[in-house]
Amino acid sequence: MNAPMPAARLDQAVVDLMGQGSFAQAEQMIRAHMSAHGATIPLAKLLARAVRGQGRIAEAAELQGRVVELMPGDLPGRFDLAESLLLMGEFKRGWREYHWRYDMPHTARIARKVQRPRWDGAPIPGKTLLIHDEQGFGDTLQFMRLVRDAKARSGARVVLEIHSALLPLARRMEGPDEIVERGQLPPAFDVHCEMMSLPMVLGLKLTDLPGPVPYLRADPARVARWRTRLAHLPRPIVALVWAGTPTHTNDANRSIPLERFVPLGAAGASFIAVQKGPRAAEALTPPAGLRMEALDSEIADFEDTAAILEVADLLISVDSSPIHLAGALGRPGWVLLPFVPDWRWLLERDDTPWYPSVRLFRQPKVGDWESVFAALARELHNLRY
């Protein structure tokens, strides 16, 4: 590769390689170009992605930090940096940079333009604070815990605006003085805060986690109903989730073909499928060696999922909202993570400060679910009830 490649073609070649998971080759290609033609900021950003894909997060963060230093107005660059810092557990700067998430070209239009100031973390007794959820259900389930801290810190009357699907769970939670469904008119308020900005505003540190757990509770009537419904199954009962929302940007890396779960079939557990969405139907025709009960048509909402998790002995799930629900309920959960996971799972640990009841099973290298399932099968076999 001696002839210089035009920048646009190099870009495309590198992006293609990374799309195929060939991060090392992508890195090599960028570095060759850099040593021949010098480094540019767009190249440094690509290099950071290639390095990050190989799990060298600190090195990626260093590159991303330099880009931000040179181009402070590159807000997508700042968001990239935030994701790396948070993944490394560097919360202080990480949460700050994370707050540029609505200032990128593809997110600016979805930013919610609240016409009142954002709460700055100061005590505001006598005032009203509106906290509103924003992104996926998993995010909301994970960060709902902070409503209680925001209430304590602000001394304000706290109004929580939340997606209708999570309303009942929120109503049983400590913290909010009033709850409104997302999109409905909230009462008048003085200041607001996006739920995912609460960590920045509260100055959340790793050592503050997990806070009181469980912070969500299932509905006792539903739990009773599901206890009856599942009474016929021998213990242990293991709930399974193999796919996240297909529209998620990282879905290809986190969702898993159901066939992969076959090695778990021999462990002697009763499997129930709590998978929702387009891939739920796969539970009706499970691969040979994996018997499971398909519950999709009976699960109306998160209330049902929460009740099932109360009754089941374990949830094995990809990185999707049910694992957050299990963690918030204090129920046992094992989460299957890609080699470079979402920032919330941190690095190089098999537990998580967010949820004491959740264990992490990480890919040892890019795309290696096989090792993950070998470990899962071993652990499941040793599970005693």
Partner: protein
């Protein structure tokens, strides 16, 4: 549907509450439903206008609010908001009208007074702006209004008052990016560029999309003589705001200073295309046209800038007069400055230039006028303060009051020196390294690979040693083009890794390429003549390198009495990056280092290529010295070289006034009269260079 039961009043209340909570869709739907039953309903239009504004659609926002303003019972608030949006669109006259209507309808509406205050600020109605904003502060002080008032004070030149306002704004809200950015601008004007940089960086850290902070940061970097960093910040801004006119203008001016006027002109044209009604854009365009030698267009651009509303008028008039001066149209220049000073008696740029154009006599009332501008209690920018001290030094020296003159020179130089980072001993070591790296045999060996072209003529030496005079004499010759002071060679040198130590080891290809790079650059400027003069004095550092890469070039060393040269430097506030002339002891030490390096070149350079001319000799016998010089350059005699002061070409250097006059003999030995004020210089010149 339950909402069908809503009254219009209820629907509007709900729409407003939804919008407060950032729920754009239901807010918009409710407003549209109201407008369907009642077209032109002003409250619905107002909410839609605010929403369009929040989503960045200023034109649509203005359209909604203009329609709302047609309602006979339009509330003052809507007019006030319309006024602000019109200001943002740059429609100042209508903006002012709306804001005045707003305060007339409801004089208790604080936000309307605030909006009127900033509109008046932009319209240049500054004292009325102050009274509006002070009125707001009295009733409801806020960080924003202090920030706004600070900006008005900046435009009035009341810098200390501005500082107090920004300080108040930041006391109320320490993480206020706009106030930090404005503070950065102010600190730079007050001569504290490092603090200015820190403040601007903090502003960017808080709000990475705050464009003005980047422009202010770039200006502060320029004050620190860090042009590359300044360009970087502007590029960094343009990466996310490609249509920021201010950034293009700032970029144009930096490019002009680093000898990339063509690229600078493109940037200025871009700025002008973005804001064809901006006085500042026309003025910047004028400066770049001037740098490209397009003088008629440049004059026209300055005139156009002066006609447009805005605060750039004075600067445009000053630029125009300066260009007239450069073109030798002295009387027009003087008239230009006088007209400007009659209108703006606090315009320091005009005072400075005017001072250069006249000879003062004792008791001249203008001396007192200038001193008044420096009186305690008057706040003027650091740069203006410096310029005034130098102007007063000049005026008082003319008038024969040396003690007071040198007191002003002392203060002006001290102020300037405090902005510079310079180590004269390090300069001396650098010159020693250069001499050590280029002995005679190295130069002779490398010269074999250089380009033999006889086109380049270099004039080198100390600044103020007569280089401009020699250039003017030579440029009057029909075979010679005077290209002014080029930074081409300096740029080539900075691209040689490890220079000077590596100069002897450069490959024949490198040597040839360097020579050709220089020639390519100057050939474009030759105007079809056989020789091009590059009179960058600082090229005295690189005589050896010239000998290698351009062995056919002639190098003229312009020499002048050391004390006279240094005095002339010391009494001059240079435009460009001259770092060693603002302290008498340093100046003397620098001169000693320079003399030693020149002694080295004299010993190692072929004498037919290294020609020395004494300024004093030229003054004593102009014709004799000119003949000797032309002969040394291999040029035929031409009478025009004697009448050089009639040559019609612009002169762009600190010495431009002298070259228009027939040789005057006051310069030689003039320093002797001021020995009492030059102690540290005389001492340093006598000491052997360390």
């Amino acid at each position: 549907m339950q909402s069908n039961q809503l009254t219009i009043q209820e629907a509007l209340q709900r729409a407003s509450a939804h919008w407060q909570a950032g729920q754009a869709e239901p807010a918009e739907q409710l407003c549209q439903r109201v407008l369907a039953v009642w077209p032109g309903q002003p409250d619905a239009l107002h909410i839609l206008g605010l929403m369009a504004h929040a989503y960045g659609n200023l034109d649509l926002a203005v359209q909604h609010l203009r329609q709302a303003a047609l309602s006979p019972r339009v509330p003052a608030l809507y007019l006030s908001n319309l006024a602000e949006m019109l200001r943002q669109k740059g429609i100042l006259a209508e903006a002012e009208d709306m804001a005045r209507r707003a305060v007339a309808i409801d004089p208790s509406l604080v936000s309307a007074w605030n909006n009127l205050g900033i509109i008046l600020q932009e319209a240049g109605k500054l004292s009325e702006s102050v009274s509006c904003l002070e009125r707001v502060i009295a009733v409801r002080p806020s960080p924003e209004v202090h920030n706004n008032l600070g900006n008005t004070f900046i435009r009035m030149g009341e810098l200390e008052k501005a500082r107090a306002q920004f300080t108040s704004a930041l006391a109320l809200r320490p993480a206020y990016a706009e106030a930090l950015s404005n503070m950065a601008y102010l600190l730079n004007e007050l001569g504290e560029p490092e603090e200015a940089c820190a403040s601007a960086r903090e502003a960017i850290d808080l709000n990475p999309k705050l464009s003005d902070a980047y422009v202010n940061l770039a200006a502060a970097e320029i004050s620190r003589h860090r042009r590359i960093e300044a360009l970087h910040w502007l590029d960094s801004l343009l990466a996310f705001a490609p249509n920021h006119g201010g950034a293009h203008m700032a970029r144009a001016k930096i490019l002009m200073r680093i000898d990339r006027a063509e690229a600078g002109l493109e940037a200025a044209e871009r700025a002008l295309a973005l804001a064809p009604q901006s006085a500042e854009a026309h003025a910047t365009h004028g400066e770049l046209l001037q740098a490209m030698g397009r003088h008629d267009e440049s004059l026209a651009a300055f005139v156009r800038a002066a006609e447009l509303p805005g605060i750039s008028r004075d600067n445009a008039l000053a630029s125009r007069a300066a260009l007239l001066m450069e073109l030798g149209r002295k009387q027009e220049a003087i008239e230009g400055y006088e007209a400007l000073l009659a209108e703006s008696p606090r315009n320091v740029a005009a005072w400075s230039s005017r001072t250069e154009l006249k000879t003062f006599t004792p008791g001249d009332p203008e001396i007192a006028q200038m001193e008044q501008l420096l009186a305690p209690g008057r706040t003027i920018s650091y740069k203006d303060r410096m310029a005034l001290h130098f102007a007063l030094g000049k005026a008082l020296l003319d008038a024969g009051d040396a003690p007071r003159a040198f007191a002003h020179y002392g203060e002006g130089n001290r102020l300037k020196r405090s902005t510079l980072t310079f180590d004269v001993a390090a300069s001396g070591r650098w010159m020693d390294d250069i001499a050590a790296a280029m002995p005679a045999e190295v130069i002779a060996r490398q010269a074999a690979s250089g380009d033999p072209s006889a086109m380049p003529i270099f004039i080198v030496g100390m600044p103020r040693s007569g280089t401009t005079l020699l250039e003017q004499i030579l440029a009057s010759h029909p075979q010679v083009h005077g290209a002014g002071e080029l930074s081409t060679l300096e740029r080539l040198v900075s691209g040689i890794p490890g220079y000077p130590a590596t100069a002897g080891g450069l490959s024949p290809q490198d040597i040839a390429a360097l020579g050709q790079a220089y020639l390519t650059h100057v050939a474009q400027r030759a105007n079809g003549r056989a020789h091009v003069v590059d009179k960058m004095p600082a090229n005295f550092l690189h005589v050896g390198l010239i000998g290698m890469i351009l062995p056919g070039a002639r190098i003229i060393h312009s020499r002048r009495n050391a004390v006279d040269t240094c005095l002339s430097c010391y009494t001059k506030l240079f435009q460009g990056e001259q770092v060693f002339t603002y302290d008498l002891a340093e100046l003397g030490a620098f001169h000693r280092h320079y003399e030693r390096l020149m002694a080295h070149w004299r010993a190692v350079m072929p004498p037919e290529r290294f020609i020395e001319v004494d300024y004093e000799a030229v003054i004593a016998d102009q014709e004799g010295e000119t003949r000797r010089l032309l002969e040394a350059l291999g040029l035929p005699w031409d009478d025009r070289c004697l009448a050089f002061h009639e040559t019609q070409r612009p002169v762009r250097t600190a010495s431009l006034l002298q070259v228009r006059q027939p040789l005057y003999k006051t310069s030689a030995g003039r320093a002797a009269r001021y020995a009492a004020h030059l102690g540290p210089l005389l001492k340093a010149l006598e000491e052997p260079a360390a």
